[in-house]
Symmetry: C2
Subunit: 163 residues, 2 copies
């Protein structure tokens, strides 16, 4: 009986992880929101600086109930797709979206993300909450948080450049 | 300055919550998966028994990257919509989807949900992991977990009825 259990039991194939990053910017919520809403700003922010990444396509669609699709390659490797679906948008205040990553033809992760923009006396507090599901151990939660910190740093540089 | 901070500061408008429910069934993963994949079975399971709920419409679409839409009313009240978007489907094994609830014209919550089906010697362990975001305090995380337990109990009844 124990042998049978061992033969037929399977471990869950998905790991879950939530992280929260807070970042202050010396910019209004309006200016920050534009980097999510404006395709040219967004493309420059998210696709501009990361070394080795090349955007193959970007189909913007910043609307609730709609898909926005990215495809890129890292150092000429297999195609990486990022499909974004927006659940809620409150202009200059809140964006909720899910993004699903695909390596080649294999879906590797999906994350529900909440971005809140909270005005302060000196600018904006951005609160990024990401609720991730990682499939079959291909993608990793740890790298995701690190990568997100990098993107939020990059946003500060973009805001300086544009100001 | 402190007064200015108080006037302009705003609290985050979204609360986040993750819960996990495990439930064993005396049924194969194949039979359980059918209640997610087959529109008639799904409609009977999710819309059949809850007292006071009336389904106004159900547009099934059990495919990755697609929307499946429900609309219903509770005791003749305002229209409640549930928009489901599938992120990953591995037949008889794993389903990852996001569902967004709308009361009238107000989006109130969005939850990324992972359902895993793990075969055992006596049937299946179902592991339901839900990563929720609740907007503006309208919907509640507590009710969601309770409601999900009810649906998983109801699934056991549907499986008995169909066996």
């Amino acid at each position: 009986m124990l042998g049978l259990e061992n033969n037929t039991m399977r471990e869950p194939s998905v790991t879950h992880n939530t992280f929260v990053i807070e970042r202050s910017y010396a910019a209004t919520p309006e200016r920050i929101f534009a980097f999510f809403a404006d395709p040219a700003k967004k493309r420059r922010w998210l696709g501009g600086e990361a070394e080795g990444f090349a955007i193959e396509s970007f189909a913007p669609n910043f609307q609730v109930d709609s898909f926005e699709r990215w495809a890129f390659r890292f150092k000429g490797g297999e195609l990486i797709k990022n499909d974004v679906c927006y659940q809620d948008i409150v202009p200059e205040r809140r964006i909720v979206f899910v993004y699903t990553m695909t390596f080649g033809d294999k879906r590797v992760s999906s994350s529900q993300t909440t971005v809140e923009l909270i005005p302060t006396a000196s600018g904006t507090n951005l609160v990024h909450t990401e609720q991730g599901a990682f499939f079959d151990g291909v993608d990793s939660a740890q790298g995701r948080e690190e990568g997100t910190r990098g993107l939020l740093e990059q946003l500060a540089k973009e805001l300086e450049r544009a100001s």
